[in-house]
């Protein structure tokens, strides 16, 4: 059994995730988001001009198109705010990811819980030079974190950094396990 230690830590002494300086997403994320949102709602607006659809729903075709265009404008505004607000930060022991406009969320994943890191990008993201970073944890999909909007260079650097952190953790854990054979062994 590991040595049980219970030294109280005052809240003021705890590292605060709010103090981390957040790196904003790549500048290319904004046009990427605007483009995808616009394309989606233009497509819907185009659909709404089909004669059959408006008869089905009961609105006049012009109303549907206007509705689609208004929604498109609204979501593009959201996308603009999203690109401004989204960001990530690396601390000594964890990754912080901030996203969301109406529901502002901050997600924190300690390196000690990351088992694997991958980068990926879709075809449109490739055009804008963007990449996604996915951190896999033991908990499965519920605790995996997908960081979007990184430019390719940063994504590779962060991935490399995370892999090193994970490796260091495993090494130091093995050292610790050798020193204290009674400690809980990692999986």
């Amino acid at each position: 059994m590991q040595k049980f230690s219970n030294i109280p830590v005052a809240p003021a002494q705890l590292p605060d995730y709010r103090e981390a300086s957040v790196n904003p997403v790549a500048p290319a994320f904004l046009p990427y988001r605007l483009l995808t949102t616009a394309a989606f709602w233009m497509f819907l607006a185009g659909l709404s001009t089909l004669p059959g659809l408006s008869a089905l729903i009961g609105f006049g075709p012009r109303w549907l198109t206007i509705l689609a265009l208004c929604a498109g404008l609204w979501f593009m505004m959201i996308a603009w705010l999203d690109a401004r607000h989204r960001g990530w930060a690396l601390r000594e022991h964890d990754l912080i990811y901030r996203y969301g406009v109406l529901w502002r969320t901050v997600a924190i994943v300690p390196f000690a819980r990351i088992q694997h890191v991958e980068t990926s990008n879709g075809p449109l993201e490739r055009v804008f030079g963007l990449m996604r970073l996915k951190c896999f944890t033991a908990g499965g999909a519920a605790s995996d974190l997908s960081v979007r909007g990184l430019d390719a260079a940063s994504a590779q650097k962060v991935r490399q950094y995370l892999l090193e952190q994970i490796r260091d953790d495993v090494v130091s854990n093995e050292d610790r396990a050798r020193e204290e054979p009674a400690a809980n062994a990692p999986d």
């Binding site: 995730y17 022991h93 924190i108 390196f111 944890t137 999909a141």
Partner: protein, 510 residues
């Protein structure tokens, strides 16, 4: 080691220390039955459709239908035979190897260190043959659970000992009990039939029974309708009862409910008969069952948290239950799985055995509530519009009385539900342990060491931002724990503490 009919030398031909085992012959019978049942369950709609389809085609009759059914049965039996014949397993120094599969042989390697719990079950039809069902559970996305549907009991017990204690010993010959380790075994709790019956009454099983019985309702309804058409068919008591109209309906409903409760109680007594919770060294062992005797073993270090639960009826009956939480990456809530480690029928003072499962400095703790804005928000956003709608309907020239009365009943109930939900949501952080309680009528309390946290999410909706509140979502090995509508300072402190605890602990990659 004397080779028996159940030992097979390794395929390469060299006599290896660890030998491949096969399933017992009788297991084939159970495999056939279980596969048939699951086949029917999965393809119920297809089979029903098939039957209906055949009924429409004139020339074809029942004979063709029977032939198709026989063909399907043959398929299922054949697949069971192939599965049974190809099933192999072997115990290595630090892992269990299982080879199984119908078309392609899949080999699974389960390391002992990853095993969360071991279950050995002996249904009554296995008992004369000395066979058991052996199943292992490990966390992980692929192949979480391995079941050996029928092996010798001695082999199963020996395998369990190897996996848990990790002290290698010789494999037992047939019909000999392996030498068990001599550590002390202490009984922590045993449930009498009365407590089990109460647990059955209090548990949510009754709703599953109702849901299971629901498909039968139309058939029962038709039967009853046929009977009632002719008044002479009715027993005189029932016809007198029916004269009272709606009172009769209520009484009949109560009778049905009562019988479901009784059924639930009896089922629980049978399922958990003779429940005993023991501790042997660092293992927690639970034995229970009348028709299917089960022994569940888990290592204390594999317990990631506890769920202390009291359903609505449980609060009336003073009946608690305890679930030992373990790592699970399935989306399905652990409670609904049949193999979770459940301690039924506890009284309040017996909850002290939580300290046997988890290092708890205290058994109860003062909880902080969540912000009243939670209640206010739901009342304003959900109920107020409904209330206004109700008034609007009242003003209408032609109003639907049923809808008015319905809403008039539903609205206070919803308001009460929101209030109860708000009132019962509470949390406390004490000595690196997080306690979170929630519930509406029933209560459930989760407690776990905060260092096990895998991810922390703090989110704020527009409403919450305006009122300085936030919701915290923690992902832990057993699932997701949420606390909504906390003051922002408390939320950030909780998040920072959880993250700090996870990062400064010795256990990584959990």
């Amino acid at each position: 080691m004397p080779p028996t009919e159940e030992n097979r030398p390794e395929e390469k031909g060299t006599a290896a220390e660890a030998q491949w085992h096969r399933l017992a012959p009788l297991a084939l019978a159970t495999l056939i039955v279980s596969r048939t049942v699951s086949f029917i369950q999965q393809n119920l709609y297809a089979l029903a459709g098939l039957g209906a389809g055949f009924a429409f085609v004139e020339a074809l009759g029942p004979r063709e239908l029977v032939m198709v059914l026989l063909g399907l049965l043959l398929l299922v039996v054949g697949s069971a035979v192939i599965y049974h014949r190809r099933f192999r397993f072997r115990l290595e120094e630090d892992a269990l190897l299982v080879r199984r599969g119908l078309f392609e042989k899949k080999e699974l390697r389960l390391r002992f260190a990853r095993v969360q719990n071991i279950q050995i079950g002996q249904p009554f039809y296995f008992r004369p043959f000395g066979l058991v069902r052996f199943s292992l559970e490990t966390p992980g996305a692929s192949e979480k659970e391995v079941e050996l549907p029928g092996i010798r009991r001695e082999l199963a017990v020996w395998m369990r000992q190897q996996i848990i204690s990790q002290t290698p010993s010789a494999e037992p010959a047939e019909n000999l009990e392996p030498a068990l380790c001599l550590s002390e075994e202490s009984t922590l709790f045993s449930a009498s039939a009365g407590r089990l019956f109460l647990h059955g009454l209090a548990s949510n099983q009754i709703w599953f029974l109702t849901a299971a019985a629901a498909p039968l309702l139309p058939a029962i309804n038709n039967q009853l309708a046929q009977q009632f058409e002719d008044p002479e068919n009715l027993p005189w008591q029932l016809s007198r009862l029916l004269e009272f109209g709606w009172i009769a309906a209520v009484l009949i409903l109560l009778a049905v409910l009562l019988s479901l409760l009784l059924l639930s109680g009896v089922i629980t007594v049978i399922r958990f008969f003779g429940y005993r919770l023991m501790r042997r060294g660092d293992q927690m062992i639970a034995t229970a069952g009348l028709l299917d005797k089960r022994e569940q073993t888990l290592k204390k270090e594999k317990i990631t948290g506890l769920l202390i639960r009291q359903s609505a009826l449980g609060r009336l009956l003073g009946c608690w239950s305890l679930v030992a939480r373990q790592a699970s990456s399935s989306a399905q809530r652990p409670e609904s799985r049949s193999d979770h480690f459940l301690v039924p029928g506890l009284r309040h003072h017996e909850l002290t055995l939580t300290s046997e499962m988890l290092d708890l400095p205290e058994h109860t703790v003062e909880l902080q509530g969540i912000s009243k804005q939670f209640q206010k928000m739901y009342w304003l956003r959900l109920l107020l519009p409904l209330l206004l709608g109700w008034f609007a309907i009242l003003r209408l020239p032609e109003r639907d009385a049923g809808l008015l009365i319905g809403l008039a009943v539903v609205l206070p109930v919803l308001a009460l539900a929101v209030h109860l939900r708000w009132r019962h949501w509470g949390w406390a952080m004490q000595a690196e342990l997080l306690w979170v309680r929630q519930g509406m009528l029933g209560l459930s309390m989760e407690v776990f060491p905060v260092r096990l946290v895998q991810q922390v999410r703090i989110s704020q909706s527009l409403y919450q931002r305006r009122h300085g509140l936030a919701s915290v979502r923690l992902t832990v090995p057993q699932g997701i724990i949420q606390i909504p509508f906390l003051p922002l300072d408390s939320a950030t402190e909780l998040a920072n503490r959880a993250v700090y605890s996870a990062e400064s602990s010795l256990i990584h990659r959990v």
